[in-house]
Subunit: 135 residues, 6 copies
């Protein structure tokens, strides 16, 4: 069930099929996952997002695995089942060990608990946390 | 403004003061932030949480800075202003560079955008993401 | 799977069946969707909600399609799969075009991204946004 | 208080100042709001976002005021105070009347309530909502 | 700062003032809090909500203090600072003890942590939790 | 589908099996639900959480059924389908009546609606809600 059709290669428009081919080439696999097949109902939107995603997730000041862990953390807090699944698979493909997965879960759970406590207590932010002079 | 008093050292009970001293010793600073001063209205609860937090955030399969980045990501998605402030300060203290901060923001923004897209499209999870056999 | 039974016409109490009939009459279809069949375990609660929903969603200063788009936006951010599905179907029934759906998705994704950025940066609200004098 | 400095014109780097000038020109006002002053700590990130935001919010299949209403709805559900303030001001500048504001609030409140009900009841999605054949 | 004016008695329209008087009578205090002063920009909306709120929060199968605790729990998870403050004050006025407040915080924190774990693990719901036959 | 295997008794490690036995003994049933079977991929993490959960949910200043209602409220707002299901079942096992379930839903829906209104209006917190002197 989805709110827009999950396009097979046959149902996809020409620009959508070109995006699928690009995804296959970059990822070195014939598999194209449902997110892109669904987003490709608007091929321009899908193609632009794919391009930006490649930019954001590439190695930089943070390494790609760390970026995947951050992605999983956000997706968990936003309760996005699809992204939790796809980025946990991506993290595993980039070398996430079982120990790292356990620690990721522990930090996410701890942050969720203290977020709730700080929100429920409405703790005033300490002045020293202001970044006005952090440069 | 808070929903429980932010305790000064003078207002704190004996067990709360002992926790403040422990925090000072571990962090090597005289400063005790408002979260602990507010949570310490129940000293047992505060002390147990402090102890678990030390366990979760210590170096392990993930390094402490990566754990702070994950913490910021969760706190942002949960819209917890206090935790965003305190853990951004903690990440900076653990060496987060300005470039790393920028990339963290980019991954959080990208994840938030695609979470919304996948949720709004209700994309069905691909079978291959199932971890049943992941061990 | 649901936390209360999804009532068939046969299982429904007399007041629940009356609500189902009212829904059929207003919508000019024999179909009654699961939300009302599940909520009708408390017929009074379901009937009152149905009545208020008709009030809120009727044409007014905003037209009904715009109200459906707003409904989808909220449901997406709240990660409510059921409401995303039912209100996307409702928006389509009220004339939402494929182009409008694409732009809705773009605005939702952009808002989600900048919400995350503004929250993570804890940007202070500019004084000029205060509505004190907006009348 | 913010987690990165809110840059004055004097503190801003050359590319950040160019962005501020561009914002002033497009909006026909000397005022540059804090979101851009804070994001501009990474001028490349800020400039790219500004450019995309102009694309997303311009007139299209949906008119600019409707896009602002959707933006407010998402920001409310995500509890982003800054974006609620800035986009309510933007909606007013684009002609949102007091009656439209009231109806926006009513739809947001109704959607939030039924999201909670559908989530708490875990209502199964009706088959007929599937968009597989929606084209 | 608010997105609609917080109306003083002088600024309020006649129907808004009548609502303020009703609130004062029911609560037996001269104080009218900002939520109603802000919502009263649309007196009809405010009056209808006040009336429903009285219905929902009155003694029933659940006692009023338990209802306030549930209210605080939802408001915390939704990160609504205003409602956390006002309903914590209301709970205290209805007799919430310091011990009960501590336990409320513990349950909220535990639920938040396990919500995150179950979401991040995407645990499949056990068949036996289905309420199909719960009546 | 899950992001870590749901372990059968046969697949579970020795410490995981010991936890399953402990769960069976405490709950006086042979059934072990998927949450623990999935979390038990890290037996230490699962065992520690189980132990804390027993502490938090035991009778205290709040009775166990009230704690379950609070748990459902948080899980609903966090959109955690698994926890909504498991804790609604737990509440029913602890005596939640149909009337109590209806009132729980009403309070959750009302809180969700007013959270959205207060957030969208950005209502400033009244000074009198400050707990500075609440002791």
């Amino acid at each position: 069930m989805s709110t827009r059709p999950v396009l097979t290669d046959e149902q996809a428009s020409e620009p959508a099929r070109q995006l699928f081919d690009e995804i296959r080439k970059v990822r070195e696999t014939d598999f194209v996952n449902n997110f892109w097949r669904c987003l490709a109902n608007d091929p321009g939107q899908a193609t632009e997002l794919w391009s930006r995603l490649q930019q954001v997730m590439k190695p930089g000041a943070l390494d790609p695995l760390v970026k995947e862990l951050i992605y999983i953390a956000v997706s968990t807090a936003n309760s996005c089942g699809y992204c939790i699944h796809s980025h946990t698979a991506a993290a595993r493909a980039k070398g996430m060990t079982s120990e790292q997965h356990s620690e990721l879960l522990e930090v996410i759970a701890m942050a969720s608990a203290t977020n709730a406590l700080a929100n429920s207590l409405q703790v005033p932010v300490d002045d020293c946390f202001n970044a006005a002079d952090a440069g």
